[in-house]
Symmetry: C2
């Protein structure tokens, strides 16, 4: 949602004033694993925050480099940050999962094929989990809680797909049942 992106930008600018490019770099390098925010969208949002009075922009130029707009949070923005943060921490927004739709219709495929596809998904999840674990050591400890959050959800996803694979296996042809363990 929009509010979370607003919270993110305000929170980052609160810690340190920045220009757009710098902010984008930071997000791309440090937060790509938990937020999805395109560069132009960030510029667009910064502009909006500015129009709403939550941040102030000041044009600056350093030597002969291209001019940059430095954004810093305003007192109204600080209030907004507090409000959004409290809201975010206290609320729970039920998610929708794309996986659910497929599962509703899954039984319309032959068990063998269905199994094959679900095993592919399983591999994809495991691969993603491995990269998350790697981040665990490479990123600063401030990210630990976030990474653990992702790992827990990934484990939930694995548990679920494993159950599905197990129940489907009992309906599949004997050859197909064993492919994963070979």
């Amino acid at each position: 949602m929009t509010m979370d992106r607003q919270l993110l930008l305000l929170g980052l600018l609160r810690a340190q004033e920045m220009h757009g490019y710098q902010l984008n770099e930071f997000i791309d390098e440090q937060m790509n694993f938990c937020v999805d925010l395109k560069r132009s969208t960030a510029y667009y949002l910064l502009d909006k925050l500015c129009r709403d009075g939550y941040v102030a922009e000041e044009v600056e130029r350093e030597g002969n480099r291209p001019e940059r707009k430095v954004y810093r949070i305003t007192p109204t923005g600080e209030e907004r940050f507090q409000e959004l943060l409290r809201q975010n921490l206290a609320a729970y927004e039920p998610s929708v999962y794309a996986e659910d739709i497929g599962i509703i219709f899954e039984h319309q495929l032959a068990p063998d094929e269905s199994l094959r596809l679900m095993r592919m998904r399983r591999e994809a999840i495991l691969a993603h989990r491995a990269t998350m674990e790697a981040l665990h050591v490479s990123l600063p400890p401030s990210h630990t809680a976030v990474i653990e959050h992702h790992l827990l959800h990934l484990d939930a996803e694995i548990t679920w797909i494993d159950r599905l694979i197990a129940t489907r296996s009992s309906h599949a042809s004997p050859q197909a049942t064993d492919t994963a363990s070979s």
Copy 2:
């Protein structure tokens, strides 16, 4: 994503041809817990599926009731369904979680308040979990896998927030630490 909504509509129409209102009712009553699809959006998507040749519409009127457009899947639509289903089952799309953003800045609140807010969220999650469990018995067995999916993710969410609450508790004032157990 769009593709999953397309898959959903095609899958439902594949099982049984329907008119828009009927489809909307079905989704609202049987699937509101796992998909979020507004009525006008459904009409809009049906129209789009029609223009793309995946479904055919036929105007029908029963007695004197308002006329309705009955949609049924075409052979191209059937192919599309197969393709989307296979794609959905085999792929894993990493999620982004709104909760992550709040946690990144959580330590900027006083531990007492942070705790209070996280406990509120915990309650909200538990409440939602209870309604999910209730669905478990009230909905047809075809939904079992989907509900279990949600329950697993909800449990992950609870485990996570409990850990956060536990670590935060050690920094909070003694009175605040115990509020939940009273």
